[in-house]
Amino acid sequence: MKKTETIFDIRDIRVTFDTPDGEVEAVRGVNMHVNAGETVAVVGESGSGKSQIMMAAMGLLAANGRAEGSATYRGQELIGLPRDRLNRIRGARITMIFQEPMTSLDPLYTIGRQISEPLMVHGGLSASAARARALQLLELVHIPEPERRLKSYPHELSGGQRQRVMIAMALANNPDLLIADEPTTALDVTIQAEILGLLAELQRKLGMAILFITHDLAIVEAFADRVYVMQHGRVVEEGTTREIFTRPTKDYTRMLLAAEPEGRKPPVPESAPILLDANRVSVTFQAKGGLFSPGFELKAVREVTLSLRAGQTVGIVGESGSGKSTFGRALLQLLPCEGRVVYQGTPIHGLGRAAMRPYRRNLQMVFQDPYGSLSPRMTVGEIITEGLLVHEPQLSARERAQAATEALKEVGLDPAMRNRFPHEFSGGQRQRIAIARAVVLKPTVIVLDEPTSALDRSVQKQIIALLRRIQDAYDLSFIFISHDLAVVRALADYTIVMKAGQVVEEGATDEVFERPKSAYTRNLMEAAFNLKQVLSRQAEARA
């Protein structure tokens, strides 16, 4: 199986970007190579330049980017190659798939047309031959009902199916090398396992090499033969997967390997008072029918019951579309809901904006997207103290500034930064700001909606430590919503598993994670913690 012929060779490549603040070196002299038929992973945290190397080699850099060095495909230099000659390799011999399958597909064309058009233009196939080939490709990537899917539009497909279509398109010309840039990051863990299994199967069948760019070490361990670890635009360590995972030599690699969230939260005593009690909460979205179309209802959350005790952290896990975020918002009355929600003995369901205001101070929320949840035109100080403007209007500007200073120190940021704007901060820092905004009001309950999902593992670890610290310091109760099981296991003492708006399983975190009762939970746990085993079982099943 293993051949030693090098098909893709990168020598001393450098990528620089011209920005208003001067030149920024994204990649500073990287060497790597890919042999025929092997799987190579490039691992690094965001901003390590791992994607930009491939963009440079494929001539896809942004307009202000510049590449130096050499990238050769079977001896053919790619950098500086004129576009028409580059296109004979790019998209034919070397193909790419990206993270976001929705934006990579044109929403206006059917799947069949998007697959067959390049075959007709570049491959010179007739329309019917191209269509037959498209069908064959869809079968190859195991899309159910491929005949029907040819006529579907991208929005009719799920995220996993769209990624399968992207893979089918990438395979159309039998490439030598498939470059996969975080292809599973936007997908749920179970879908991720399926896609990875598919890639492994296709590799065996077609004998291509795969260059896999990812930040997720679990995938690397389960999937790759060799690994390059990148940091700050340089390769800090390289070796076989086994070497890297068993005997890492560099601190950075060790840090990445140890960045899995750890620690457990002890359960609170039964005697702790119940702060927030939700009884059979349902949320229904109604789409009003038009003149010719009947309206329809979508039950996003169906009769979910939850009670949160003082000092407790309840974790809600589930895949996308399970209604976990919707439930979190309904708890805080940010969405209209049915059922009872009681906060410290007072029913708060159905309260209007003004009636709800006094309770808002105690019930805070931190959102997933650290880029979207901070208003871009306000300074950090203004963002943090906005809640005080509402709940403590008697404070002077000076007192508010002082509160902002203290809150920033509390979350581990330099208080001098309070006059800056959110876009000047990294993702982790922004999430700290969002936490400071919630903490400044001294709430009793914080609903955390995927607060660590957009962050690198090492940053995640810091945020988890921060959340633990403020929970102890202020005696807070958390509702922690996440699809990331490892984080929930580390933070929550009680876990609820949701699927399609309903609770599938619930119990003490250890109980749910060690001895899952439902098949759904078991699948979820395996895909998250035992990826390697899942992949090898898939391979066996197909063999």
Binding site: L332, R360, G372, E386, G387, A416, A434
Partner: protein
């Protein structure tokens, strides 16, 4: 407290103080040469509009009956060779016989005789003309039948010529720039205030209220603008204020639609939900979160709206529905120029050039601002 803040060590990479999105946009704008040139031109126009009429050598309403439709020239009027015949004819009108006329710099000396005794008030014949002033009798013969008159020749520069009524075109262009800019700024301001408030409210409240508010906009859209303007003029007479109302009442509709669209997309953003979770009132969310974030597109639309409004005003003035004499606007001047195109082409040329340059500058600046404020490459 501030001492404490400054004592904490600054991160090394962040030398500059917080740079807001506005500051980055300004930096991007500075690199756009066409936009910066337009900005300079615009500043010159604003200066000309505010101070020009005060500094101009002629009043925009002053009529020079002797200099009707004189072509644009850098040389002063009257021309030297025109002074002597003019003096002669004035003398004839005063029933004097000019015998010896000489011009010394700006001083005209004229020896005249008459068959009867000369009344000292003949000087008034001269002063009545625009050419001569301060006419006085220097010498008078004993019999009173011959005099030596001395008069100052008034010489005027009309660098852009004069119009059909003998008013200085340069001064009129300056005052029309003032009027056009004022209408542009005020009507745009009216459109901005109404449009932003209306659009943000409709978009934020959503549902039935939004539906109702936007249907009102649709109905107003259906109103034919020219007809509306004519109607207003017929009811209330010609008036600059009416122009603002007419133009502003129509132009806020686009603004409201733009702001509403922006608001709807902003409302779903997480920072708005975060504000709701903090308990911020609807007004606070609109004021602090929605409106500041719509300002980018609003400013772009505004810079493109000003030229549109100026053109609309010019159009109305061209039709004769605009400002009233002796005030004028670029549209009025162009309309007059068009009527006198054959005899006095400069009367069309200069106001048209002024308007074109202004519109170019505003449009280029608007384009530059759009590139600077929402760059796609971010």
């Amino acid at each position: 407290m501030t001492d404490l803040a400054t004592n904490v060590s600054q991160p090394p990479a962040a030398g500059a103080a917080g740079r807001s999105l506005w500051a980055t946009a300004l930096m991007r704008l500075r690199r756009n040469k066409a936009a910066m040139a337009s900005l300079v031109i615009l500043l010159v126009y604003i200066f000309a509009g505010i101070f020009g009429p005060m500094l101009a050598p002629h009043d925009y309403a002053r009529v020079y009956p002797d200099f009707v439709k004189v072509p644009a020239s850098l040389e002063p009027y009257p021309r030297m060779d025109a002074v002597l015949p003019a003096a002669e004819s004035t003398a004839r009108r005063a029933r004097l016989e000019a015998r010896n006329i000489e011009l010394d710099g700006n001083t005209l000396r004229l020896e005249a005789t008459s068959r009867r005794e000369i009344d000292p008030r003949v000087t008034r014949y001269f002063d009545r003309s625009d050419l001569f002033s301060n006419t006085h009798i220097v010498e008078r013969s004993a019999d009173g039948r011959s005099v030596l008159l001395e008069s100052q020749v008034e010489r005027y520069r009309f660098i852009f010529g004069t119009d059909a009524n003998g008013r200085d075109l340069f001064a009129r262009i300056l005052i029309s720039i003032r009027i056009s800019l004022m209408i542009g700024a005020l009507a745009t301001g009216v459109a901005l205030v109404i449009g932003v408030a209306y659009g943000a409210t409709a978009g934020f409240l959503g549902g039935r209220i939004d539906n109702m508010m936007m249907r009102v906009v649709d109905i107003l859209y259906a109103l034919p603008f020219t007809f509306f303007a004519i109607l207003l003029v017929v009811f209330f007479g010609r008036n600059v204020v009416l122009m603002f109302i007419a133009v502003g009442a129509v132009e806020w509709l686009d603004m409201a639609r733009i702001v509403r669209g922006q608001t709807i997309s902003l409302r779903r953003r997480e920072f708005v939900q975060a504000a709701e979770a903090l308990g911020v009132s609807a007004g606070g969310i609109l004021r602090r979160h929605i409106i500041p974030n719509t300002l980018g597109p609003v400013i772009i639309y505004m810079t493109l709206l000003i030229p549109k409004v100026i053109l609309l005003e010019s159009f109305l003035s061209f039709l004769g529905l605009g400002v009233q004499e002796p005030l004028t606007s670029l549209g009025v001047l162009i309309s007059e120029g068009a009527r006198n195109m054959r005899a006095a082409p400069y009367m069309l040329l200069y106001p048209s050039l002024a308007l074109t340059l202004l519109l170019f500058a505003l449009n280029f600046l608007g384009d530059g601002l759009r590139d600077a404020l929402d760059p796609k490459d971010r």
